[in-house]
């Protein structure tokens, strides 16, 4: 790859929200580290916005060798134009070979703008990263067709190779508080007249009681097998005993039994808890796409042929309305024992 001799190093973009790094950026330092070692290159964290220097230190403690930061009033909150402009300037100056970005709402907003401006390839929402042995390019692996098929994508003829990676797929490296590295502050000024969008307000969704899906170690999810919205109480009671969050299948959300914020699956959230308990969920591929990465999967369903059982570590074939209250009681007893 003679023509790419100018391009080196692996960049991980660390997205932050009000000066706090999002978990996904720190997670991506783990596969980034592996790519950097394999290619014998540096792993560089890139941070834009408020508190960037402090975030840079955290990124280095999570495995980055160095960091590049851009601060300025125009980067206080995310806008497509300012962030694309800043990242584009950085790429042109430093020429990274690989750029990894969290597949968040804003990560998936800025990446296509950047890749398009650079006329390079972008692979969306990856769940696996490696090196293609034959060519030395990054092998980006991602689900397609609702998770029915996996595809490995290369970007062989242009640089940088850019991909967005799904949050929750990689585990963060342990924090090493003694680890230090070089932090470069770049001054990039985006003129106000180049920013044509304005955030008028941010409305925090009113939190329902209980644990949030994305933070949960345990998730108890309900599906159409519950029969009606009132029967989500069975799921909630089990969740309460376990300190778990409540999830739901698309069918129950579409039926209006529970709000969209609970939906797990391809068109809802992707989760990777330690334990996922699917209650009355048949396990269509779209649902499995959102939860199959969980450490332990428990399925309760009356249909022994339900596809959810193909990925379950523990399965109960039986009537939900008998099993769930009994399981709740058993676990409560076990907890109090």
């Amino acid at each position: 790859m003679e023509q790419f001799v100018d391009y080196k190093n692996i960049w991980v973009y660390i997205e932050a929200d009000s000066g706090v790094p999002k978990s996904v950026g720190l997670e991506l330092l783990a596969p980034g580290r592996e790519l950097a070692s394999a290619n014998n290159e540096e792993l560089v964290a890139v941070i834009i916005g408020k508190n960037a220097k402090e975030i840079a230190k955290i990124a280095i403690q999570h495995g980055a060798d160095s960091a590049i930061v851009v601060e300025g009033p125009e980067y206080e909150s995310y806008t497509t134009e300012a962030y694309t402009y800043a990242l584009h300037q950085l790429v042109q100056k430093y020429k990274p070979s690989i750029m990894i970005i969290g597949a968040t709402v804003n990560g998936r907003d800025v990446s296509p703008r950047l890749a398009c401006r650079l006329e390079t390839g972008l692979t969306a929402d990856c769940t696996g990263l490696g090196i293609d042995e034959e060519s030395g390019n990054v092998a980006w692996t991602r689900p397609a067709f609702g998770g029915n098929l996996m595809a490995t994508i290369l970007c062989p003829y242009t640089r940088p190779q850019i991909g967005t990676v799904r949050p929750g797929v990689f585990k963060k490296n342990e924090l090493d508080s003694g680890r230090t590295g070089n932090i470069i502050a770049e001054t990039i000024y985006t003129p106000a007249e180049n920013i044509h969008t304005k955030i008028l307000e941010f409305v925090q969704r009113i939190e329902e009681g209980g644990v949030k899906l994305k933070d949960a170690d345990i998730i108890v999810s309900g599906g159409r097998g519950l029969g009606g919205p009132e029967n989500f109480s069975y799921v909630r009671e089990l969740a309460e005993v376990l300190g778990a969050a409540v999830g739901a299948s698309r069918a129950t959300v579409d039926a209006g039994w529970i709000p969209y914020s609970h939906q797990v699956g391809q068109t809802g959230k992707t989760v990777r808890p330690k334990v996922y308990i699917a209650c009355g969920i048949s396990g269509a591929i779209q649902h499995r796409a959102g939860m199959s990465g969980s450490d332990t999967i428990i399925a309760i369903n009356k249909d022994p042929d339900a596809p959810i059982f193909t990925i379950a570590d523990y399965g109960i074939v039986g009537d939900l309305f008998e099993v769930l209250p009994a399981l709740t009681q058993e676990l409560r007893n076990a907890k109090n024992a």
């Binding site: 398009c116 390839g121 092998a139 099993v323 009994a326």
Partner: protein, 261 residues
């Protein structure tokens, strides 16, 4: 108000099966549908037209069979439809596709606002809308569920996990649409008949100001190296005692022994 809606015809991914020998999709017998997020986008566009007036043009890039998808859009509120089709476009990745759509915008436009679904359910990339905006140097607001337009400014509700932002942009702009608070409307027999009578014009590469090497496989910087089916996990414990109570007891004991909970 001149409105453009970009739609994609996709296989209904809930109906897809995999050939276990070749590891490829069995498309035969799988119904084709309008990408669900594009139907939300169209519904928002139609509501905008009903409120502010205007005309909706809907475009789709794909083979002839995508005419069915365009007719469906015509039957639920779109006014004009174009099929963007050419062998030269085959194999286009998101960047190449966005180049074609940007060229179509220039040919048919200018438009005040462009609607796309936030992603298509076959490829799930969500990149074509923003890349199209980049080619056209337009602003974008992605992942929106609602919008209104006043005095040449759009205010859109951009959805996040934790809440939503109200983002304001000058027209023209491109928005990508996630699930909306309302279901897309259904066609009626009358609107279906009318849609069937409407001609869908074709746009080929000859109609566009675009170089052949910038589209199709040649113009695509990403290459598919291989496809494979995800591994089934298998080997789980199945419990099926005589009563739900007995099954629950057994599961609980296993979970405690295996230190799962």
């Amino acid at each position: 108000m001149n409105i453009l809606v970009c739609v994609k015809q996709v296989p209904d991914t809930t109906e897809i099966k995999i050939n276990p020998v070749t590891n490829t999709l069995i498309r035969q017998g799988v119904p084709s549908i309008v990408n669900p997020f594009d139907t939300y986008a169209l519904e928002l566009a139609v509501r905008l037209k009903e409120k502010n007036g205007g005309e909706i043009t809907v475009v789709s890039m794909g083979p002839d069979q995508a005419i069915a998808a365009l007719k469906e859009c015509l039957s639920v509120g779109a006014d004009k439809a174009y099929l963007i089709t050419d062998r030269a476009f085959g194999g286009s990745d998101t960047l190449a596709t966005s180049r074609v759509l940007a060229a179509v915008y220039k040919k048919l436009g200018p438009f005040d606002i462009v609607f796309c679904g936030k992603q298509a359910i076959d490829g799930d990339t969500g990149q074509v809308g923003p890349e199209m905006a980049e080619h056209l140097k337009l602003t974008q607001i992605s992942n929106i569920s609602e919008l209104e337009i006043q005095d040449c400014k759009v205010r859109a509700q951009k959805e996040f996990e934790e809440g939503y932002e109200i983002v304001e942009a000058q027209l023209p702009t491109i928005v990508t649409v996630t699930k909306t608070p309302y279901e897309p409307r259904y066609s009626t027999i009358k609107s279906k008949l009318a849609a069937n009578r409407t001609t869908v014009e074709k746009i080929t590469i000859a109609d566009l100001d675009i170089e052949a090497e910038k589209v199709g496989l040649k113009g695509s910087p990403t290459k598919v190296k291989k496809t494979f089916t995800p591994q089934a996990k298998g080997g789980g414990v199945v419990i099926s005692e005589d009563s739900g109570m007995a099954s629950a007891k057994k599961l609980c004991a296993l979970l405690v022994t295996d230190k799962i909970v």
